[in-house]
């Protein structure tokens, strides 16, 4: 097996997608915090949850293991960490573009989430209009809310801002 640098492992993990959002890699989602190597062919991947109760976490762990074992590592440990905590600002620029293209509104950046207003008038990912309304702060997964665009009359989802 060739030897890998941290950047190279991150590049491999750019091919491991969020199980619920197939256009967003775990790297672009911002959940991978650190890579460490041990012995000859061992690697530890540090990963944090988006929402603490996210049930996709185990699937993510398995997908990382599958990918890295496939590259020739003989021991892959995925460690779940809670610090530094994930916020929605951790989604990369590339990730935000991919989300929008897929029909999900990316979360507003540096949002102060104190009131419901933050979820009203979310720009529609289809027509960019802001004549939209929040249907529910809870969607198909913990990290998504439900919206409706009155201009193009499309229902859409937003990745919820989280601070």
């Amino acid at each position: 097996m060739k030897s890998y640098s941290e950047t190279e492992v991150l590049n491999l993990l750019k091919k491991v997608m969020d199980p619920e959002i197939p256009v967003l890699s775990l790297v672009d989602l911002g959940v991978i915090t650190k890579i460490e190597f041990f012995k000859d062919k061992g690697v530890t991947v540090f990963m944090r949850p988006t929402f603490i109760g996210c049930p996709a976490l185990h699937q993510m762990k398995q997908d990382i293991e599958t990918r890295l074992y496939g590259e020739g590592f003989d021991q892959v440990d995925v460690k779940i960490v809670h610090t530094p905590a994930w916020t929605s600002d951790e989604i990369s620029e590339e990730g935000r573009i991919a989300l929008k293209k897929y029909g999900y509104a990316p979360p507003p950046k540096n949002a102060l989430i104190e009131d419901i207003d933050i979820l009203e008038n979310v720009p529609c990912p289809y027509c960019d209009g802001i004549n939209t309304e929040l249907k529910s702060p809870f969607g198909p997964t913990l990290c998504r809310s439900l919206h409706y665009c009155r201009d193009c009359r499309e229902a859409f989802q937003q990745i919820k801002p989280l601070s």
């Binding site: 603490i52 109760g53 809670h82 905590a85 419901i116 529910s136 702060p137 809870f138 913990l142 439900l146």
Partner: protein, 251 residues
């Protein structure tokens, strides 16, 4: 740091979250409309996740592993307030409980996000961010149904009157209260209750619902010291059915 004081604090927080999480999950498939079905199911997932994060801290402090803590204790070992263990009746009941509880929970996490203990501060800060969506949901429905039809207002009022004594039981002082305050681990139940009451009044006063003076409500204490209604044991038996049949089952 007084370990027993910290453990007691963490147990009551996590037990509240776990038990209310399970009560919330009982609406899965039965919510009055699809969005509400999803909302209560999502909040259930969040709450059980939050309890896990605090049980993990307890485990790091030498307690059993989170699964054992959650599923293999008797009801008298649980430190949750009685508010969260009461069985769901109608939707108004669950909404009012959700409102009264999450308003307090958000304030509790805000206070704990200033705790002197790093690991508590970090987890509380994270949970706080997620809880904003729970209070957002509760406040929206309080305003909608509390200003809705005669029937919706009546149902919400009945639930509010029934649950207020139990809600006040959330703030049952701990024997370690002074210790926690003195060491800046937690600002204390009294301060929390005042913050909570302010928030509750603000929302209720924007509806047609009526609140009495806080001192006019009876208070139901007991949960924090392991005194529970029979409903808790029934719920625990249901929650632990699988683990009791096969303690090593994986799914």
């Amino acid at each position: 740091m007084n370990t027993a004081a910290v453990k007691e604090l963490l147990y009551k927080i996590a037990d509240d979250q776990l038990i209310l999480g399970h009560r919330n999950s009982e609406w899965t498939g039965l919510g009055p409309l699809l969005e509400e079905d999803i909302a209560f199911s999502s909040m259930a997932q969040d709450k059980i996740g939050h309890s896990l994060t605090f049980y993990e801290l307890l485990h790091e402090m030498g307690e059993e592993n989170p699964d054992k803590i959650a599923f293999l204790r008797k009801s008298r070992d649980f430190k949750n307030c009685q508010l969260v263990e009461l069985p769901n009746t109608d939707y108004a009941f669950s909404l009012i409980r959700h409102f009264l509880y999450d308003t307090a929970e958000l304030q509790r996490m805000k206070l704990l996000a200033n705790s002197e203990i790093d690991m508590i501060r970090e987890r509380a800060a994270k949970v706080k961010g997620e809880l904003v969506y729970h209070t957002m949901h509760a406040n929206t429905w309080l305003k909608k149904l509390g200003n809705g039809t005669e029937e919706s207002i009546e149902k919400m009022q009945v639930a509010l009157d029934q649950l207020m004594p139990y809600a006040l039981g959330m703030f049952e002082p701990s024997v370690y209260e002074e210790e926690l305050v003195k060491n800046k681990i937690f600002a204390g139940e009294k301060i929390l209750q005042d913050l909570w009451w302010n928030d509750v009044r603000k929302i209720i006063n924007s509806t047609k619902l009526v609140l009495k003076d806080i001192s006019d409500y009876p208070v139901v204490f007991g949960g924090r010291t392991g005194e529970h209604t029979n409903h808790l044991q029934v719920l625990l038996e249901e929650m632990s059915e699988v683990i009791n049949i096969d303690p090593n089952a994986e799914w």
